[in-house]
Structure formats: C-alpha cells, structure tokens
Amino acid sequence: MADNKGVMIFVEVIDGKLTNIAQELLGAGRKLANDLSEELSALIVGSGVANIAPEAIAYGADKIYVVDAPLLKDYRTDAYVAVVEKVVKQVNPRILLLGQTTIGRDLAPRAACRLITGAILDCIALDIDTATKQLLITKPVYGGNARAVYSMETLPQVATVRAKAMTALVPDSSRKGQVVIVDAGLDPAAIKTNVLQKVVAETTGIKLEDASVVVTGGRGIGGPEGFKQLEELAKVLKGAVGATRPPCDAGWAPDTIQIGLTGKIVSPYVYIAVAVSGASQHMAGCSGSKNIIAINRDAEAAIFKEARFGVVGDWKKIIPAFEAKVKELQSK
C-alpha cells in the first residue's frame, strides 16, 4: 500500500467533450497533486474517447489512461467497475476522484468497495492533511444542516465531488502529458446490465425539483408578465422558475410550479426569492435550499431572515439589471 502515489481523476466525456465537472476535478486534482508533489493522472473510459486525452492534459493532467472499447459505450456499472478496478490496481493512485454525477455516485462506492477501501460522495472541499498526507474531505450532511470532514486510512482514497464546488484551470494546450492505452479486457458475458433506452426529459427547461438554481416569484410579481421575466433570468442561470401560492391561485403561473407546504418541495443550491414575503407555508417548500437570495421591497420581510444575501428594492428594476450583469460576467 505504501507505494500508492498520485491523484487520479475519473474523467467523464459527453458527446465527445470533456464535461465541466471533469474540468473542475482536474483543477482540484492538480492542486492536490502539487500539494503532495505527486502526479495527476486522468482515467478516460468509453467508446471513441481516446481523442479527449489532449484536452485533459490541457486542463492539468500529467498522464492519461484511456480505456476505449465499444462495450463501454454506455455506462454500465459492472463494466465500468471492472475497468476502474483494473486500472487502479495497475496505477495504484493515492487518491481517486470522480464527479458527483449519475455515473460517479453509482461507480465510486462500488469500485471503492471492490478495492477494499472507503469512499466519500458529494464533497464540496478537499484538502491534504500535511502531517499524514491524508485527504481531508468536507461534505454536507443532515440534508445540508451540518458539514462533516472525513478522512480514511485505506488507499486509494475515493471521493466524488459536487459540481461547481471546484474551479477548473485555464486550459493550457502547450502542456505535455503521457497517454497510456489500457486494454479493457472485458468479457461481454460478464456484463449483465443492459441499457434499453435513454430518455431526455421533455421539459423545456430544467425540472424544478432537480434544478440547482430556482428563481421564485411571489405575490409581489403582480401578473403573468413578471413570470416571463423570471423565466428569462432562470434560463440565463440554467435554473427553473417557481412560484408561491398566490401567483398560482391568481393564474399568473401554472400550479405545477408552486413551491411550499401545498406544493413542491425543492432544495436547490441557489434559491432566488423575488417579491416573496417568506411566509412559513412557503418556506416549508424551500427551507432546504442551500443559499437563499431575497429580493424584496419590504426590508422587514421574513424572507430576509432566511436569506444569505438580500437586496431591498423594486424587483422590476433589479431583475433586468441583475440578468444583464450576470450575462456580462458569464461571457468573461
């Protein structure tokens, strides 16, 4: 075990492109590898993914392991776990990081179990304990009511990381790295999982319950036009629009987006409450939100008690200006 060295990133590729989370992981991995003065490697698994290697190097990896096989086209637990097991046993990294994604949350615990080590899922911070060279992993627990810092003695130390928790490096295409092709060595008979169909949800935007950003309008929005404005903002933030009960009752917004005691329960990462007073019936549906941002004309509104950031003012002026500024910052 003592010869476990380096940080390995399990890189996800979608439509032939490095995913955002993979870029962020490479950024975080680079930093950890530097702290440890060890190597950062990336593991790319899939079918027709070998050409991604240079991009991964540009984002910070020193060494790329590519396992490219038609059998690996779809993510299937049994196939992927076998591949990860094979590569990890061959490379012996100290740390293995994955994204907290559909794949990561399924693959990480099972692979860790097979490798006789532990894993921590959905982390938001990673540090190195300089004394023990152990990875310190911070993750929210109790539904966001508390945080825990974990570490483990077993190697490799496996963790999945929440999207947007880490920062990607600015890609540097001049970076040099080594690419190692590893044979998948899979027995098709041993793969028992079958992906029959992939269904992309029909919703125009993101499903309210799943959205990591929710923009909610309250009674103060005053009419259906206001909700169109909120929708635009939500689109810019890649989020969804919600509403408190009065706008739904008044028919300004569809019933399906009502958040609260008598509606949907959401717990997005960012919850922007626009002209929402913060009545407990409404808060019932969104108090699990990690960060509440309140925009309200009434400085005494209860919503400010729940909010992390607040703006006191007229939403009709604030929302367009806010949207414009966000667009400007995003384009940078």
Partner: protein, 679 residues
C-alpha cells in the same frame, strides 16, 4: 248526521269509513316496516336517548316549532313562520280528526259533537284552516313562482303534491263544516249565536237549497275530507312528509355528545373505518336521512356551497337517502340469508355516491348542523366518508403530507423553521418540566407556536397573563398536536395516538386546568379528550382575558382602532357557544365602535380553515376566506378581530390577495388587548 250510519247502496258507512282507514293504515304500515328494516340494517349506535329528550324535543322544539322558528329572520327568511303555521294547523287537525272523525264517526261517539268542546274546537279549526291555506298558498307561490335560491332544484312533483294536499285539504274541511252548519247541526245547533266565521260564511252558499241537496253536498265533502286525510297519511312515509314522524325521533335519539365533538371509533375492534357502504351507517345516521325534509337551510348556510364548491350538505343527505332506498331491498334480502350484499348494489359511497371533491370541501364549520330544523348531522357523515377515503389512502397530497407530519413530528406545520419554545424566548416562561406547580397550563397549540404569524398571538396572550400575575406554565417540547386536523381530515388513528400521547403528558403533570388560544385545541381537549379519559377544565383565552379584565388585573388604555367587527371562529362560537365573551372584551377597548357582519354568531361564515382545510388547496370556486373578507369590508370596519389562529392566517392571506391591506386589518383579540394595555 253521522256519515257512518248511512248506507251507500249496500255498503254500510261504517264499513266504508273503516275500510278505507284500514287500507290506508296498511299502506302506511307496509312502508314504515320497510323503512324500519332499512334503518336497522345500520350499525349499532351508542350514547343516545334520555327521557328528558322525549319531553324537550316534542314540546320545546316540535310543538313550539322552535326547530323552525330559530331560523326566522324578518328580513331574510320568513318561511319558518309559514311552516310553523302549517305545523300548528297540522297538530290541531290531527286532534280534531282523532276526536270528531275517529271517535265520533268511527266509534259512533256522536255525543262528542253535541258538546261545547266541539263548538270551541270548531272555532279554532276554522281559523287554522284559513291559516293553513295561507301558509300553503304562500309555500306554493314561493317554491314554484318566486323560487328562492335555497329551494333551487326543489320544484319536484313530490313537493307539489305535498303543498297541494296541504293547500286543498282545509277547503274540504271548511266545506264539510259549512254543509253541517247549513243543515243546522252542531256547531250551529248548540245555541251559540256566534258561529265559526269562515265555515258559517261558506254555509251561506247553501242557503235556500233543499235539505237533501245539502246532505248530498255534505256527504261529498265529508268523504273528500276523510279521503284527503287518509291520502296524506299514506303519503307520509312515501315522501318527505316522513319528516313529521322521523324528525321527532331524530331529535329524541340525537346522540348525547358535546356539539363540537366527533364520535370515536373503537380502533381495537373496528372491522371497517367510517362509512364504506350504505349499510355501514348507524341506524341513527339512517334516521337522519329519513328526517331530512330538503328544506335547504343547510345549503343556504354552507360556506363551501356559497363559494361555488361541489359540496351541498342537503345533497349529501339526499344522495345517501337515495342510496339507502335503492340498495335497501337487496340489503334486507341479503341480511335475511346471512350473505354479503352484492357489490354492484351496495356500492362504495366515497367517490361513487358522494364525490371526493364534495367530501374534501367541508370545513366542518357546523353551520349546517346548527341550522338544521330536524337534528340532521352532516359533519359526522362527511368525516366518516373521509375516514373511509383515508383508509384507502385516497386523499389530497397536501392532506397526506399534513397527516404524516402530525404523525411523525407531532405538528401539522411541515417545514416550519420554529421550535415549540422559540416564541417564548426571553419572556421567562417556565415549562412544566421546570416547574409543574402552576395554576393553569397554557396550551399554546401548533399554529401559535410554529407559525410566524401565529406566535404573535402566543406572545401577546402570555404577556397579558404575566401582567395579570397568572401563575401559568407551558409544556414546551412536550406539547404535541391536539389532533384536530387529523381527526377532521378523517385520520382517526393518528388523532387517537395524539390524544393518548397528550393525555398521558397532561396527567403526568397532574394538570387540572388548561387555557388555550386556539378554538380547535379548545374544542378537542374539552369535548373530545373525555372520550379517552382525559378530563380537564379547559377555557379559551377570550374567557380568561374577559375574567382578568373584570377583575381589573389587566388595565387597558384607550385604543383607537376605528370601527371593529368580530369574526366568530366556528369552533368557539357554533361548536362551543362562546359568542358573548369576545364581544364584551372588544367593547372594553374604548374609542371603538363594534359593528356586526350580517352573518354573525351562530350564523357566522367560516374562514375556510377548519376541518383540516387550512392545509388543503382551495382550487374550486371563490376562496371562502376572501368571501368573508368581502363581508368584513361591507361593514366598513377597519379591523376584523378574531380569536383563532386559523382564522387569523386565512384572513391575513385573503387580505393580501385582495390587496386590501390599507382597508382592513386582522388581529387576534389577545393581540389587541396586549397592544392596548401596553400603551
């Protein structure tokens, strides 16, 4: 001239008289037997009947017609007077027919007609007949020509037959009397100079006719009269005339239960919950169905109906009655064979006979039960239907979430950010765990402890008690939902678990006296906990505040609120008869004028939050709370005071939705007094 002594061809009068009478009685008895059979398909009933009830029901309510007259309002509804006239007429007629038809004619006690008793009775009857004609004529005009909203859909053949029979029968009677007078028989021949005016006036029609002609007329009118009487007798059990019998028994057998209480289910031994099918009603609930006379008073008072929801209490009772009459024959057959009734006939009530939207629309405000002249209980059936739906897990999503929250967390306020003691922070209020030696326990209630708006009531009331030096304590985290929303949403299991848990805690601290600001907690602990051996003295905060004001322990300064109106919370007013105390307190707030809404006290209009509806969507029709706020605004009051955290919340919401914040405000009485006394 006794008709029964005559021969009609070869048929003796006696035979004819008794013959038709017996036929009528047989037809009557046949139907009554059938109805009783259906009725006793029902389940056992507990806690009914006392001898006092026989007296009070028959005399204090039925003979006095108070059952009807309680709904009389000179400007709004004069129909009860019409009914009272008809009913009194009916009673007097029954006596008259008993003495002067059955005894005198049937049993040949002809001497009865030769007495002054007959003379005076004839006078009474003379006026009664006219009053009935007026009452019934008015009824006919009202129902079939004016058609008030209450009688919408009530223009049936049955109603026409009833009203026509009531209307025409006195004519037969008067003409019968007139011919007697014209023949010079009693009451004419008794030596009195003044004869019953109407019949004697009619008798002039026969002046100058030959005696035999008058006799023939008399024969015709006598038999018409008698046959009309018998037709009515027969029609009674076949129509809603039935109420003349059923309602009296319905009053007598009214369950002995505090008004606001629902009947418990013995969960250990129950084989079903609520009323899955018509044969699972109790016999008394079936009697309710027979008693209903489709007067529509309940419909007229029902907040759900008024605001355009599919619920109509009258229709619920009538639909159940139709199902009982429809399924009755098969059910009786099946019962005799000891077989289960066929399912296609004994259909599920909830969802089939009474639709889910009707069942969930009820706020259990009690307006229907209170106004009903014939002791019909609507809430118990609606809750029973809910109980059955809950057992099948068919309930609105938000109701499910609420019930699960009560069951798991002991409160209905899912997602609240408050703890039960947060409102009391910095107020130096002790819990019983810290000091059980208090004079009175303040039962805060979930809404006053866990709702942002509600806690202001708790804080105000606690401050008042502290000012007055009341030695009180709270249960803090040991308090749990009283169970009212669970019970009224039909989840008896969760309710009983809550009740038992709370009673155990209360008994553990040897609590004797409880004050609460929530009428729902008040009603539940006071009227329903005794069902589970939880007997405590419970008062509402309006009662305590009233006493403290009288004793001078709270001083209130002059508060100028403009004009104030008071909204009676259903569970304080209708269900517990507390109307006076809150008004007395409000009057103490000098500088203020009290105005009443048109619907006040026992006719008060619900806020829409009772019966667990506070936690349900209100998607159909106008929101009840907004309708009530419209009523408030109509009084031009600047402030509506109430004494219930549910009402407060419903109104806060309604006022905001109507954007009427500048027009009217809503406050709890405790808040008003606390503000005023702080000045």
């Amino acid at each position: 001239m006794l008709m029964t002594r005559n021969y009609f061809g070869f048929i003796p009068g006696y035979a004819l008289f008794w013959g038709v009478f017996v036929i009528a009685l047989l037809l009557f008895a046949y139907r009554i037997r059938q109805l009783l059979q259906y009725m006793f398909l029902g389940q056992k009933e507990t806690g009914y009947n006392s001898w006092g009830k026989w007296i009070t029901t028959t005399f204090a309510y039925v003979f006095s017609q108070l059952c009807q007259l309680k709904n009389f309002r000179f400007k709004k509804d004069r129909a009860p007077l019409g009914h009272a006239l008809m009913a009194w007429g009916f009673f007097v007629f029954v006596l008259f027919y008993f003495f002067f038809f059955i005894l005198a004619e049937g049993f040949g006690l002809a001497g009865l007609e030769k007495t002054n008793f007959f003379y005076y009775f004839a006078w009474v009857m003379d006026f009664m007949a006219v009053l009935i004609i007026i009452g019934a004529g008015w009824g006919l005009i009202r129902r079939f020509i004016i058609r008030p909203a209450r009688l919408k859909g009530g223009q049936t053949i049955e109603a026409l037959i009833i009203l026509l029979s009531v209307f025409t029968h006195p004519f037969a009677f008067l003409f019968n009397q007139a011919t007697v007078i014209a023949m010079g028989e009693a009451p004419a021949g008794l030596g009195h100079t003044l004869l019953p005016p109407f019949s004697s006036w009619l008798s002039h029609l026969f002046t100058g006719s030959a005696l035999t002609v008058i006799q023939n007329w008399h024969i015709a009118f006598f038999w018409t009269d008698w046959l009309t009487v018998l037709l009515v007798l027969v029609y009674i059990p076949y129509s809603r005339y039935l109420h003349v019998i059923a309602s009296i028994f319905n009053g007598i057998f009214e369950p002995r239960l505090p008004k606001g209480a629902l009947k418990p289910i013995d969960l250990e031994h129950a084989e079903f919950l609520g009323i899955p099918t018509i044969d699972k009603l109790t016999w008394k609930q079936n009697l309710d169905l027979y008693a209903c006379v489709v007067c529509g008073n309940c419909q007229e008072q029902c907040p759900a109906y008024i605001t355009g929801k599919p619920l109509n209490p009258k229709k619920v009772i009538q639909d159940l009655k139709q199902q009982l009459l429809k399924a009755g024959p098969e059910l009786v057959k099946a019962k005799a064979k000891g077989e289960p009734a066929p399912q296609n006939i004994n259909v599920t009530l909830a969802g089939k006979v009474i639709l889910e939207d009707e069942i969930w629309a009820c706020t259990t405000c009690g307006a229907c039960d209170t106004t009903c002249p014939v002791w019909v209980k609507h809430i118990d059936k609606i809750v029973d239907l809910r109980r059955n739906l809950v057992e099948q897990s068919i309930l609105p999503e938000t109701a499910k979430a609420t019930l699960q929250s009560i069951e798991r967390r002991g409160h209905p306020w899912r997602g609240t950010t408050l703890n039960r003691t947060d409102w009391a922070k910095g107020m130096n209020i002790k819990t019983l765990a810290e000091d059980p030696k208090v004079d009175i326990l303040y039962w805060v209630g979930c809404t006053e402890a866990l709702d942002e708006r509600g806690i202001k009531i708790a804080q105000s009331f606690a401050k008042l008690m502290q000012q007055a030096g009341v030695n009180f304590g709270i249960l803090g985290t040991e308090e749990s939902c009283c169970g009212d929303p669970a019970r009224r949403l039909g989840d008896e299991m969760t309710y009983q678990a809550q009740a038992q848990k709370n009673i155990e805690v209360l008994k553990g601290y040897n609590v004797k006296k409880i004050v609460t600001g929530c009428p729902h907690c008040y009603n539940t602990i006071k009227n329903e906990y005794p069902q589970f051996e939880g007997n405590f003295e419970v008062i509402h905060h309006t009662e305590l505040i009233g006493d403290l004001l009288k004793q001078g322990k709270i001083k209130i300064g002059k508060g100028d609120y403009g004009s104030i109106t008071f909204h009676d919370p259903c569970y304080l007013g209708r269900h517990n008869d507390i109307y006076r105390q809150p008004r007395e307190i409000l009057k103490e707030l000098t500088c203020t004028k009290m105005v009443e809404m048109e619907k006040n006290r026992k006719r008060a209009f619900c806020c829409g939050g009772g019966g667990g509806r506070l936690w349900l969507e209100e998607r159909i029709g106008q929101r009840i709370s907004e309708n009530r706020i419209d009523q408030v605004i109509k009084t031009k009051a600047q402030l509506v005071a109430t004494a219930c955290p549910y009402c407060l919340q419903m109104f806060e919401d309604a006022i905001k939705t109507k954007q009427a914040q500048d027009t009217v405000k809503v406050k709890d009485i405790a808040e008003l007094i606390a503000e005023s006394s702080a000045k």
